[in-house]
Symmetry: C2
């Protein structure tokens, strides 16, 4: 029917859980949902655009007790961030490759809300898929949600996939 593949942007982030490998539970859920329910076996009909926004402050959290004594310390910190980001993308790119669906993946730094909106304006996907922890209104006040912001402001249709209740970690704000 349509000639150009449907360009499906997925916003991904790292898990906040110690020891959880790379991708957050909710962004993995959203990604897998999109493959299973939307892409299905029509791999030629879709292209996945995987965007990871690194939050400088958050990523530096582990370094609270570090001592910075030289420019080299910062270079190695930046290098470590870069490697972590690449590890995250590698997971999604490998998954697309396994299935045979075309993909592009890239990293940006900044506030996820603003960067996602900006990247949507720039690459103009047909659809944005984001995961959400599915927090209640009380918990949301403290943590804010990227998904709600995208729903309101994105210039393309947005689909929010809530984390399944059985996948909720001990502290529900973790992901």
């Amino acid at each position: 029917m349509a000639e150009q593949p449907t360009r499906l942007m997925v916003a991904v982030n790292e898990s906040t859980l110690k020891g959880y490998p790379h991708a957050s539970i909710s962004c993995r859920g959203a990604f897998e949902w999109a493959l299973k329910k939307i892409v299905r076996d029509n791999v030629a009909g879709f292209k996945l655009l995987v965007l990871h926004v690194q939050v400088p402050d958050e990523d530096g959290f582990d370094d609270m007790d570090s001592i910075y004594a030289s420019p080299e310390d910062f270079r190695s910190m930046k290098n470590r961030d870069r490697i972590r980001g690449l590890h995250l993308l590698e997971f999604f790119v490998n998954r697309c490759y396994e299935i045979g669906v075309a993909c592009e993946a890239w990293i940006k730094k900044g506030d996820p809300k603003e960067v996602i909106l900006h990247e949507i304006r720039r690459v103009q996907p047909d659809l944005l898929v984001v995961g959400s922890r599915g927090l209640g209104p009380f918990q949301r006040v403290f943590v804010g949600t990227v998904s709600e912001f995208c729903l309101k402001h994105a210039e393309c249709p947005v689909i929010v996939i809530k984390r399944r209740p059985e996948e909720t970690p001990q502290d529900p704000v973790d992901d």
Copy 2:
């Protein structure tokens, strides 16, 4: 990949524009978007569930100047509603048939917000697609929006397709 087709519910309503044939601009837009961007040529991978909620009060609006003198008057009014609802569904079912995608369509009466939630709970679609007039916050106060309500409360992922600016009728609350 998945064996069962993805069950895609589309909520449809009549146009409020006089002379506009049957389906509202925004629900047609949402339906066509889903066919073009999600279903594409993978017609075996999807089943469309077309739900039309008739609002008793709204449908009775044309009858403001009518005089009801017998039970027969009410029967004929109900019959007329039934025929209008069927005409609306016919459009969508025909479109699915043309494309070759399986569908089911049905009519319920009541408050669209509540009925859509109820039907989602009952038929458990994988995804709800609804159109939206894309009104600003000021206009929304007066007309309310079914799409926002579904986004907040539906038990399945929801995708809201905004009416394209160039399709806005003279009065933007019309559709």
